[in-house]
Amino acid sequence: MQYKAMVISNQEVSSGYYRLRMTAPKELAEAKPGQFVMVRVNNSIDPLLRRPFGIFDVGSFVPEYADVGRQTYLEILYKVVGKGTAMLAALHHGDHLDMLAPLGKGFAPGDAGEEKILVGGGVGLAPLYYLAKELVKNSRVHLFVGGRSREDVLCITEFERLGVETYVATDDGTLGERGLVTEVLEKQLQQGATAKTIFACGPYPMLRAVAAIAGRTRIPCQVSLEAYMACGVGACLGCVMKGRNHTEATPDYRCVCKDGPVFDYQELQWD
């Protein structure tokens, strides 16, 4: 749906990373982990297009500013990388944003009781928190999180507060192990860690490595992808990824915005 959100808070949680909490209509309480939003940063033509962000959290609160009872909020966790995110970072309590949400298909949580592994790279962690909140209700959850440096590893405390067991890797070793998060994941799996489903979100090379691990270990795996998007509703065909059986003669493109952003890794052609 399309709605106007009011900014509740917009906090820098690590250098260059922000958590933006905003009001949402009550329908958003039904948003599934893994779904995303498209934010219109402002009403000018600069930037022109909406910006996509995963849903970091959804919850409810009692607003101070009005006598309206419990309200729904939606939160995103974003990194400032360019013009649009820089403008988001300048927003204050009370500012308004035009939103499309919830968009796309979310994660399939899988069976209750079985162990789950989450793998997040940098800001790819964002949709995993909302997912973890769901999963911990019925499952043991492990989080493998990677980043370039310690500032790029976000919100660990929040995950731990949910009872998620976390493993951290950074490229420069400033937090957790030095190396790639997928190396840590692979090592843990070799050391006998078991899991019934892997949920991964992060940069494409990380996802490809996770998909390879899933292939080798035959653990079911869902990945959440990013792509340049214009419409967010499956109309422009700007955001496609190749499906497993895609060939030039028998095209099989999937829209990240509509068919995803979450895919079973076996649905896709990895290159």
Partner: protein
């Protein structure tokens, strides 16, 4: 008093002059959750080809100053799947549907029009001539008046439905192209399609688009579109559908003043999925506020 917002293009009656542009509105259904599809004048489909088309590799889109480039490469389900899978939904909506056609040869255009001729849901065809002519070394049909005229004549013969020709702006003289299409039997002209452009990723030293070049759309191109509509409206007697960078009711009304009978909303649908409906509504409000009884009074009403 409610202003009369209806217009007629090539025999098709529209409740208002606002259509959605090909390739920016999917097959209509994608926007049904966000707006009332019966509050706009017409829906133009994504460009349809004879067989399903894969389109280009990704990245396919990139934002540019005041605009965007796309190189979708005309990915589409193909004409048969359109008829079987997409048309049924469109039949349930009381708004004219216009099929945008894309061929790689003269014959493909003819064949496409023939297949649609009996498809009731389709009120008219819009012929996209910004396509490379594979038989003639990839030269784009829409940049050569003779090739364009051949396409138009071919489609004209293949269907009794109204034939709208969509012109490419990447030409020296748009009036020459418009005249060629008019003489070959077009019932209406829509313009403009995208301007060819390019974006570069400095750090990677690569074009951003996998296809290297793409089509520029959005507010950036509005002045070029407005100029071409004005030029063609003065020179050619056919009704014109104005397209290019329309974001607001004011933009749309400017195209009417320049000589367009209707407009199409493209990139704006991405910024606001209810854009077309909103623009139609606000055009009506403008008319009411300014005591204009009939939107047709504005068509070509520019004083110069």
């Amino acid at each position: 008093m409610k202003p009369d917002m209806s217009v007629e293009i090539a025999g098709i009656k529209l409740r208002n002059p606002v259509m959605t542009a090909s390739g920016t509105f999917g097959y209509g259904k994608e926007f049904a959750d966000y707006m009332d599809l019966e509050k706009i004048g017409a829906i133009i489909t994504k460009g349809l080809s004879l067989r399903p088309k894969a389109g280009n590799p990704t990245p396919r889109i990139v934002e540019t100053p005041g605009g965007m480039l796309n190189a979708i490469g005309l990915q589409n389900v193909g004409i048969e799947a359109f008829i079987a899978e997409k048309a049924p939904f469109l039949r349930t909506i009381n708004t004219p549907v216009i099929a945008n056609l894309y061929g790689n040869t003269l014959e493909e255009y003819g064949e496409l029009a023939r297949r649609l001729d009996k498809v009731q849901e389709v009120a008219a065809v819009e012929v996209n001539i910004s396509c490379p002519n594979v038989k003639q070394g990839g030269i784009v049909f829409g940049t050569d008046p003779r090739a364009a005229a051949e396409v138009v004549a071919m489609v004209r013969e293949a269907t009794i439905k109204p034939v709208i020709v969509k012109l490419s702006p990447n030409v020296t003289d748009i009036v020459v192209m418009a005249n060629a299409c008019a003489e070959a039997g077009a019932d209406a002209l829509s313009l403009i399609n995208t301007l060819t452009g390019m974006a570069i990723d400095l750090q990677k030293r690569r074009p951003v688009l996998a296809n290297v070049t793409g089509g520029l759309s959005g507010p950036a191109i509005k002045p070029v579109a407005l100029r071409m509509v004005w030029q063609v409206a003065r020179a050619v007697k056919l009704p014109i559908i104005g397209i290019g960078g329309i974001m607001t009711a004011n933009d749309a009304l400017e195209f009417l003043l320049a000589g367009a009978t209707a407009v199409q909303i493209g990139t704006a649908n991405f910024l606001d999925p209810a854009a077309a409906q909103t623009i139609a509504m606000e055009m009506e409000r403008y008319l009411a506020d300014n005591g204009i009884a009939d939107v047709k009074e504005l068509i070509g009403a520019l004083r110069y």
